[in-house]
Symmetry: none
Subunit: 229 residues, 2 copies
């Protein structure tokens, strides 16, 4: 059931709030990553590219609204839905929140159920077409909508894990992913498997990608991980 487990990033400075939220989201089958301030949040977005972000408005230093603004003005992160949390209920803030580009807005104290519903809604809005349904790299084409992969006209048969692995690579061609990052992203956190398992699946992916000839597009970065191209 880890199939395509969506990742939620919670950026919230207050521990209790953060954990309650995380607990509920995890119980609902989401993968959760946490940041306790804006800076850490931005870093995690970089590193882990979550599917959706729950963002607290009031935080020391880098405020939620500022984080939101930054994410929404960068092409790579513009499409990640952001749900803003705020203790203020003034209409003014609501407007400002949405103006900065937040996709939805929840006023504290909120009902956890309601928040979850909104998370799902936002996710449904963006998820089916994660980044773009069609990823290309060199002569490899991956269609996220149909789950079909081809290399120069030949349809390839990949297992679920190899498919997710390849999707990950193709989202950012050239980027080096550590085995840990891949385990997190492809397998899902709190799954415990040996890091070497990644190697095995990389091997299987390579075999699938080269079964009709062509060079191996997966690059091993010794001591660091793997990358595409």
């Amino acid at each position: 059931m880890t199939a395509d487990q969506p990742t939620v990033l919670i950026i919230e400075d207050e521990l209790a709030q953060r954990e309650v939220l995380a607990y509920n989201l995890e119980a609902d089958g989401f993968r959760v990553i946490r940041a306790e301030n804006g800076e850490e949040g931005l870093l995690l977005v970089e590193e882990d590219m979550p599917d959706i972000i729950v963002l607290d408005w009031m935080m020391p230093n880098l405020s939620g609204i500022e984080v939101c603004r930054r994410l929404k003005t960068r092409a790579e992160t513009r499409n990640i839905p952001i749900i803003m949390l705020s203790a203020r209920s003034e209409e003014v803030d609501k407007v400002r929140g949405l103006e900065t580009g937040a996709d939805d807005y929840v006023v504290k104290p909120y009902s956890v159920i309601e928040l979850m519903a909104r998370v799902r809604t936002q996710l449904r809005r963006v998820r089916p077409s994660t980044v773009g349904v069609r990823l290309e790299f060199d002569d490899i084409i991956l269609d996220a909508e149909t789950h079909k992969v081809s290399r120069s006209e030949n349809a390839l048969k990949l297992g679920p894990t190899e498919f997710r692995l390849l999707s990950t690579f193709m989202e950012k061609p050239g980027r080096v992913w550590s085995r840990e990052q891949l385990l997190d992203r492809v397998w899902g956190r709190d799954i415990y498997v040996d890091t070497r398992t990644v190697d095995v699946h990389i091997g299987r992916l390579r075999k699938a990608l080269t079964q009709f000839g062509g060079s191996d597009p997966v690059r091993t970065v010794r001591g660091a991980g793997y990358a595409l191209g």
Copy 2:
């Protein structure tokens, strides 16, 4: 396919509701334009002359009922079907809604399936030719109006659930639908049934589709869901 794609105008002040609706309508092949209040809605009607309008009852300033009244008293816009959405369930409101000229009326929380069905119904009334009444894939033909399905000349007998399942697949051949998405669309949200039920119905659909021979057009995507072709 995109030729003569019908346009739906959604007038709804709440962002989340609006987007859920838009998402589903777009997935169904409609072109969607959005307005978040009555004034904007009226402007967009002018500007874009949609084929049908989904209108929220409760909105700040210019209420849905007022928007409806204005549209229905102007000759140019009188024939655009309007479906009213309301959180109220009182019969009184229903009557008042229809009296102002709304063509249909849906009470929140509504099933998305139901609403979509009503959109299609209204649309069929006004633009009989443009609604996807006839879907084709390979040698399978599905007629949404008569609920008849045939495969290379042979009429097939499907139960209601199998029919909706097949419709969903045929709307976007190749697209992979997760069990959860299928439950949402075919069964309706907030219906609670086991996800494995989907498998059983897929099996029944397969049997129906292959009863006169022919290959199985339903593709199982391990760890992800099902797709047509």
